[in-house]
Amino acid sequence: MAKLIYKIGVDVGGTNTDAVVLDHQDQVVAAVKSSTTADVQSGIYTSIEKVLKESGINVNQIAYVSLGTTHATNAIIRRKGLSKVAVVRICLPAGKGVLPLAGWDESLIAAMDATSFLIHGGHEYDGRALAGEGLDHDEVFRVLDTIKEKGYESIAVSCIFSPAKDQHEKEFAKLAAERLGEDFPVTLSSEIGSLGLLERENSAILNASVVGVAKKAAYGLIEALKDLGISSKVFFAQNDGTLMSLERAIMYPVLTIGSGPTNSTRGAAYLSNLENCIVADIGGTSTDVGILVNGFPRQSALAVEVGGVLTNFRMPDLISIGLGGGSIVQYDGKEVAIGPDSVGYEIKEKAIAFGGDILTATDIALAAGVAIIDDPACDLSRLSYLDTELVQKGIAKIQEMVLNACEKIKTSPEPLPIVLVGGGSVIMPAQQDDSVKLIKPENFGCANALGAAIAEASGEVDGLWPMEKRTRDEIIELAKEQAIAKAIEMGAVLSGTSVVDLEAVPLSYLPGNVLRVKAKAAGALQL
């Protein structure tokens, strides 16, 4: 058998689908771009075909292909092909005050023809059962029979305190498999979100509604890879910057919806060889600024809206500003204003350097000698009429906008290096001084696809721990152990998997009694 030495990473963005090939030392062998297509899949196919050709590698030597895709998001936003969802909340005798799907747009409920059931079960924060140790099987089977009768295609299960104790959700899944078959899709809320039942349940429902679409798409991709002669393992990039297996991606497709920005953050860090840094991904219209802590993007503390629904997905914390290579520049003789309007992908028609008549951030950067664009259509003499003061002020403004966003995302006053990536990053000078360290790595244009290719697996826990029987330190140790065990279950290597993020906060209004601990562990993927 051929030695497996190459990795392929693909990232599907709004405009481009990028692909890279990495060698056994994770060095870039080839990087390409092609247009993102409406069906997503054919764009991926074209990109991989192109990168295989360019790199000239033997397809039998590919260790794995990892994909950052947007199938799930598209299905939710377009409300097309959504599965018919039954929501089961394991909560009685509590939980009736706010029913599942509360606050949802009626049209989205209609698009997934959703209904809900409440059944007995769930736990208290300290692990005591709310109703009984196990589920009432008769009650569960009655619900499952109704679900079968009415033709529901997918189930979302939520349960009180399941992020701390998932026993009842798992028991329900087992009974569902028994009654409806192993292949019937059941989404467990504990696999998706953290504490906050309604938001976690919403996340599970969204997932349940796209499992059908995602399964089709995933199998389509496998077929496409086979056509290219690739039969290696396939992984999918998750929101939190780790990879999941094909099997899991089919069950939990919604965990991929924030993978785009995560991938570029991770890729940027890799390119610059940093574990802790700020990443500014400058595109054509906007700049996304994220922060990398111990190798992973920091996650947002706020609830995230997806398709108008409040969720608690683990999404990367980002600050977006309306500044990109195509941002339109205005000057009143005194002040320079840049963006948020942009010529976007039409930069090669509309920017002045390219013969157009709109002054863009790229023109300013070219005139200042910050950007160098190797393109016969780009003619610097067209910019000679520009006022020197305008150019200076324009560059200062670009710097100010990017640095302000970077300052805003920091969690501590200590200086952090800033890595610039993305096609639009040519507009930002990579100057160095004592206060700010800016880095523009080689291959900055393909950071996203590269981020998708770097393989790690992770596990997370989020629970409330009574401090009656254990000390704070003992609780933290236990939470760490659980997170590591979960990461290993998700495919991380046995040794070398470690805790990368830890938060322990006592609950407000319960003085001295309960500690909330969130822990996340990650490790290299076991191949």
Partner: protein, 372 residues
């Protein structure tokens, strides 16, 4: 005049209640949905002017007590506080004419609406602290001579307990223990009182105030204008003092001291704009308690100290604060009923462990610019 409160008013109420929550009191989001669901099902709720409450009839404050983190995970059934009210009525052998909030700040601003909609009785436009506080004796009802008990506490499973205590400090002590055993949250009906007692011991128009503050923030966000003039008008009308922007600043550190198990800590900030060069500090224990500028006290509890997001004016809870946030620090002078000697013993800075006398925020900041 009494008026009807509908689903849209609750939307505003939740935002304004977060301002009055002074960083604590729990995020009103889930309580808001619960109240809206109850109003959709049972119809709008009548909000009574305090003087419309008959002198000899009974009014009962209803609330949840315990950890908001548990509340949003173990979603209640919506009838727990009503259950507490019914058991209390049975015990006392009389019916409640109306309910009212004990706490108009945070999550507890919404609970009386859930109860009132289901029971088909009105809510009195008044509460017992005009803000958020962590303990049951910290209510004006207590200061002005109303007994907190008999009180009933109920959980989601239907477990309930009737309490009679010698004083209101003991009520807090025992009830907190029960709430923990109930899984972190209990739903209560407490301080049953007559219309006369309510009129003597409560802060008027605080429900309307929360709704008006919410409107001010939503409208100013839409128009990109400062919410201060509209907020000031609403506060003055409710008997509070003129609100001040103490400073605009960027958070440079959030130190959550976690060793003794309290959700307490300190936020350090650096002035921005016209406040550049100054360093600020705000201490919190569940709620924001004391604000300092370069070590000098700017405001202390029970005056209200709330952080608003600089761009959206959204009120921020202490849990969400972190480095880099740009905020306006709003201070609101509490109504005089909150500042009596007896009141300050229960919730002045000394009760929270500070060796500080309470000085009204308007006196501490006589020269501060009042921004409109």
């Amino acid at each position: 005049m009494a008026r009807l409160i509908g689903v849209e008013d609750i939307e505003y109420l939740a935002i304004g209640a977060a301002v009055l929550g002074t960083g604590g009191g729990g995020d009103p989001h889930l309580g808001k949905i619960m109240a809206q669901q109850a109003i959709k099902e049972f119809g709008p709720v009548t909000l009574l002017e305090p003087d419309e409450m008959p002198d000899d009839k009974m009014v009962v404050p209803v609330a949840m007590m315990g950890a908001p983190t548990v509340f949003v995970e173990k979603i209640p059934n919506g009838d727990e506080a009503l259950h507490s009210l019914r058991r209390l009525e049975e015990y006392l052998g009389k019916e409640a004419y109306a309910v009212m909030p004990m706490e108009c700040g945070g999550l507890n601003s919404t609970i009386p609406f859930v109860v009132a909609a289901r029971a088909g009785i009105p809510i009195v436009d008044a509460d017992g602290m005009g803000r958020a506080f962590p303990e049951l004796q910290m209510e004006t009802f207590n200061i002005y001579g109303v007994s907190g008990t008999p009180m009933v506490i109920t959980d989601e499973r239907g477990d309930w307990s009737l309490l009679n205590t010698v004083d209101n400090n003991m009520l807090e002590h025992i009830a907190r223990g029960i709430a923990i055993r109930m899984g972190g949250v209990g739903h209560i009906a407490e301080y049953p009182m007559t219309g006369v007692e309510m009129k003597r011991s409560s802060i008027f128009h605080t429900v309307t105030l929360a709704i008006e503050l919410g409107k001010a923030i939503v409208h100013s966000r839409e128009k990109q204008l400062s919410p201060m003039p509209q907020m000031e008008a609403a506060l003055i009308k409710a008997g509070y003092g003129k609100p001040l922007i103490l400073f605009e600043a960027k958070i440079t550190d959030v130190d959550r001291a976690t060793t003794d198990g309290f959700a307490k800590g300190t936020v350090t900030l650096e002035g921005i704009g016209e406040y550049k060069g100054a360093t600020y500090q705000v201490d919190f224990q569940n709620e924001n308690l004391i604000a300092y500028q370069n070590g000098e006290v700017l405001a202390t509890v029970p005056d209200l100290i709330t952080f608003l997001d600089l761009d959206t004016f959204k009120p921020l809870t202490t849990e969400t604060l972190r480095y880099g946030y740009r905020i306006s620090c709003l201070a609101i002078p509490t109504p005089s009923i909150m500042r009596s000697e007896a009141a300050l013993k229960v919730w002045g800075p000394q009760y929270f462990g500070y060796d500080l006398e309470f000085v009204p925020v308007e006196e501490l900041n006589e020269e501060a610019k009042i921004r409109g």
